[in-house]
């Protein structure tokens, strides 16, 4: 019998699991995918918002401001890169300037420090590539950027170190309510627990329904992105927002903590909660939006696109509460933006709720707040590199040329607590395959390392869990018996190739 089962391994579930791991209780986290951070927590704007957008008094406002204050400390503790680069909401006409004033007042009411309005000249000095039509901006000094999947992985690793169990490829299919707790069924067996925390993101409405708790609905709202090559990392220094609309914060131009710049997201309600496909119209929409802020976008430098889905609840606010219908069931649903920023505050709140619900939470003496050291070869000086290679020669073997990731880092990513099992798992932990060639060079090499370390056949290695195997077969495997001679003299045929060039003039 577990004390708590957390459903969902996004940033919300992992942050809660990590905070619960401080206490002397048995906790398990169930995740339907093969790894943590496979849902919305891997595809968002990665901004640690200051907290002026949300209406005063809402969960969003409270959690955002508190979360923003807690973020740098947690990142430092878990060795996750965090950059406090500030944000700008840009106004291009008088109407928008009025909105800036409103936002500033709202921010002050929410308790956001460090807000000020900046005029055209100062703005252009701060961000020279900005649209010169920009008249003014709301500057928020407390905003920052983080890598959302690295953050989520770090939380999960740390929770695992402190004895939280994780079960992957385990979608919750049924929840049975009993006198002394719950039985939660997955394809890999059932789990018994006294408390259930529903942090299933887009599916939290379905999980709540399964348990017979309060009903609400989650609508997926798609946001699409384009990412630029690091060569254009200097395009903007701060998070640049347009003046927001009712529905979203608008299409931003924003640096990432790893040195790229992206544009996006747009904001479109869709039906399918698994539809993270990028659309042609979407790409056009974000390019147009991005150009309003930075007219000269280096569009030839796009390295990839992706989309994420906001889990928008029918209350349009976060739902963070113990069920009044089902004792012991806690909903943490509708965690749309600013859910990443809010995660630390949401976890704090959940702990308070559990206490109110009668859970005994006694801090355990052995809690380790830090995770095993993480080495990032590309960020080190040469003296440090030399030292590491002497200790472990695999640091001298660069596998991902674009992001300068070494074999030692990839092996570490596989062997760490909750280690990577797939190409995407390695990618999220090391950035191997995230650079300008998008894995063209390193993916076959990473695949070999995964097979070696996990003692699997290369054909079993996946991109992101079962069903996404990279290789379809072995050498000659597809040549049907009796067909060996179908292409008689294949050698001769091969030899005919690539004779071209005659057309050119010598």
């Amino acid at each position: 019998m577990y004390d708590v089962v957390v459903i969902g391994g996004g940033v919300t579930g992992c942050m809660i699991a990590r905070e619960l791991s401080r206490y002397d209780i048995r906790v398990i986290l169930l995740e339907k995918e093969e790894d943590v951070a496979c849902g919305t927590s891997k595809a968002n704007s990665a901004v640690i918002h200051a907290g002026f957008d949300a209406k005063p008094g809402t969960w969003k406002a409270k959690m955002n401001v508190r979360g923003n204050a807690l973020f740098p400390g947690i990142c430092a503790e878990l060795d996750v890169p965090y950059k406090n680069n500030g944000s700008l909401v840009v106004a291009v006409d008088e109407g928008e300037i009025k909105v800036l004033d409103k936002l500033m007042n709202q921010g002050k009411e929410n308790g956001v420090p460090g807000l000020k309005i900046i005029g055209h000249d100062e703005l252009m000095k701060m961000e020279p590539n900005l649209n010169p039509a920009a008249k003014a901006a709301l500057y928020a000094s407390t905003a920052g950027i983080v890598c959302p999947y690295e953050f989520t992985v770090a939380l999960a690793e740390n929770a695992a170190q402190n004895d939280v169990e994780f079960r992957f490829n385990s979608p919750v299919m049924e929840i049975m309510v009993q006198n002394d707790g719950f039985i939660i069924k997955t394809p890999h067996g059932a789990v018994k627990a006294r408390f259930v925390i529903n942090a299933a993101g887009l599916f939290s409405d379905e999980i709540s329904k399964m348990a017979g708790a309060e009903e609400y609905t989650i609508t997926p709202r798609k946001g699409e992105y384009l990412i630029f090559d690091k060569n254009f990392g200097h395009l903007v220094k701060r998070v640049i927002f347009p003046t927001p609309s009712e529905k979203s914060k608008g299409i931003l131009v924003c640096p990432t903590v790893d040195g790229n710049v992206f544009i996006g997201p747009n904001s479109n309600d869709i039906k399918d909660k698994t539809d993270v496909g990028v659309t042609r119209e979407g790409i056009e929409e974000i390019i147009e939006g991005g150009k309003k802020l930075v007219p000269h976008l280096p569009l030839s430098g796009v390295i990839t696109s992706f989309a994420g889905l906001r889990a928008v609840s029918n209350t349009n606010d976060f739902i963070i509460e113990a069920s009044r219908k089902v004792k012991g069931f806690v909903n943490v649903g509708g965690i749309q933006s600013p859910g990443l920023t809010s995660a630390p505050a949401i976890a704090e709140t959940v702990i308070e709720i559990l206490k109110e619900e009668g859970m005994d939470l006694i801090e355990k003496p052995g809690f380790v707040p830090t995770r095993p050291r993480k080495y990032r070869f590309r960020e080190m000086d040469n003296a440090m590199r030399q030292k590491l290679i002497e200790e472990n020669p695999a640091f001298g073997h660069v596998i991902c040329r674009c992001e300068t990731v070494t074999e030692a880092e990839i092996v570490d990513a596989i062997k760490r607590p909750l280690g990577a099992k797939s190409l995407d798992g390695v990618k999220r932990r090391t950035r191997a395959g995230m650079g300008r060639c998008q894995g063209g060079f390193c993916s076959s090499r990473v695949l070999s390392i995964l097979a070696r370390e996990l003692k699997l056949d290369p054909r079993q290695i996946t991109k992101c869990g079962p069903g996404s195997e990279i290789l379809k077969g072995g050498y000659k495997e597809f040549i049907a018996e009796g067909d060996e001679n179908k292409f008689l003299n294949a050698q001769d045929v091969e030899s005919l190739s690539w004779k071209g060039g005659e057309a050119s003039v010598m």
Binding site: N382, H397, E494, A503
Partner: protein
């Protein structure tokens, strides 16, 4: 810190030919730094035949072609550092590299030849909508899986782009028992050599669909199919022609990009159209004593030209190492109408290595027949009739030193089309 006369970054065909030539020219202390565990570069995975027609007058496979150079290297005293990746280079030719045996190496070189090759364009660069499942590969990556690792990355394949590597892979996959459903090309003409279209597609009944592209990728875990559509004259998809093709793999053969991350660190000037550095007649970049050749300079379709270019760069480096005055500026070369680029970008006549110089260029579009005109401020230098031109097939023309000498101001290359390709 090590001190060298000449460091060559990259041990593909460009680096190999440069090293041999430098040794032949009497340059001492030559070192090749190669990140792979073997020499030969991309040729290691090109197991098909047809390399070396110009240089060796015989047909070799990629590995055989490379081996000819590797064998000769043995008695030259050229030092080869394998499994060693260059991570930084400064304008004053200090090189930082890493490997597992030594750690971080610092090398001060008197001259440098950049021969890092190229990388393939990816899906991101094309902005293809849809999901991001397993089963999307660049053609070169697939080639590596099949020819080096011995695995089949797909069974039912659609190829986007008719670049040569894609064409070669279409046949390779077919011979391995996979089904290549079609090759899609957004342009109204193929991007590969005509012979490859005939021998890799037509001979196997693989349809080449010109003016077509992929407009959506389906499948959440693994590719399940692609939606393809015809494009109009502006290359915009015509949605009414959309068609679903089931497949488990999408292969991209949509172009190569010179790998110039290190070159950028030197501050050398770039050509926006080749995406490589600008060079003069001895393949020297605007950063004195730093030379470039092969695919890092501009994408080649034939390895033979890579070899020739590399030899020139090595002789240039040898000349540079001997001379007192290193500066080498000269007549500007301009790519005019009808041409995407012309190499080299400048000629300094006094320092020409031979009595003649080869210029390499690519046309902007296919032309059945065209007149190449080379002019300077004081008139026409040379004209030549050319036929069957395609952007994918490089044009090469020779000018005599005396012709270049006479040219004043600049050398402008223009391609005037005479008749249109049907």
């Amino acid at each position: 810190m090590l001190c060298k006369d000449l460091v060559i970054i990259g041990g593909g065909p460009a680096g190999l030919a440069a090293a041999l030539e430098a040794a032949e020219q009497g340059v001492k202390d030559v070192m090749i730094v190669e990140r792979d565990s073997g020499l030969g570069g991309i040729l290691q995975q090109c197991i098909h035949n047809g390399f070396g027609l110009h240089v060796f007058k015989e047909e070799l496979t990629g590995p055989e072609y490379a081996q000819k150079f590797i064998d000769k290297l043995e008695n030259t005293g050229v030092e080869v550092l394998l499994d060693t990746m260059v991570i930084e280079i400064t304008p004053d030719k200090r090189i930082f590299a890493v490997n597992s045996r030594i750690g971080v190496l610092e090398i001060q070189s008197k001259a440098v030849i950049l021969a890092m090759g190229c990388r393939e364009r990816t899906r991101g660069a094309l902005n293809i909508p849809g999901f991001r499942p397993a089963g999307i590969f660049t053609a070169g990556t697939a080639q590596r899986y099949v020819n080096i690792e011995g695995y089949m990355p797909g069974k039912e394949i659609v190829i986007l782009g008719s670049g040569d590597i894609g064409l070669i892979m279409a046949r390779r996959f077919t011979l391995e028992g996979a089904k290549v459903k079609c090759v899609l090309e957004i342009m109204p003409y193929s991007n590969g050599l005509t012979r490859n279209v005939v021998q890799c597609l037509e001979d196997y009944g693989i349809p080449l669909r010109l003016s077509h592209t992929v407009i959506d990728i389906h499948g959440k875990k693994r590719v399940e199919g692609v939606t393809v559509a015809k494009v109009d004259e502006n290359l915009k998809p015509i949605l009414s022609t959309a068609e679903f093709i089931p497949c488990d793999t999408l292969l991209l053969s949509v172009g190569l990009i010179p790998e110039n991350e290190l070159t950028k660190m030197t501050g050398a000037d770039f050509d926006a159209s080749t995406q490589g550095p600008m060079v003069n007649q001895r393949m020297e970049t605007s950063c004195e004593g730093i030379f470039a050749c092969g695919n890092v300079l501009h994408v080649h379709d034939l390895v033979d030209f890579v070899t020739m270019e590399a030899r020139l760069a090595a002789r240039g480096a040898a000349q540079y190492l001997k001379e007192k005055d290193g500066s080498c500026r000269g007549t500007k070369v301009i790519a005019g109408e009808g041409l995407r680029y012309v190499l080299p970008h400048a000629v300094c006549v006094e320092k020409m290595l031979d009595e003649k110089l080869n210029f390499f260029m690519r046309s902007t579009r296919p032309m059945n027949k065209a007149k190449l005109v080379i002019e300077s401020e004081n008139g026409i230098v040379k004209t030549k009739m050319l036929s069957y031109l395609k952007p994918s097939e490089m044009i090469n023309i020779e000018l005599k030193k005396s012709e270049i000498e006479k040219a004043e101001g600049h050398l402008k290359f223009i391609l005037q089309e005479e008749g249109v390709l049907q």
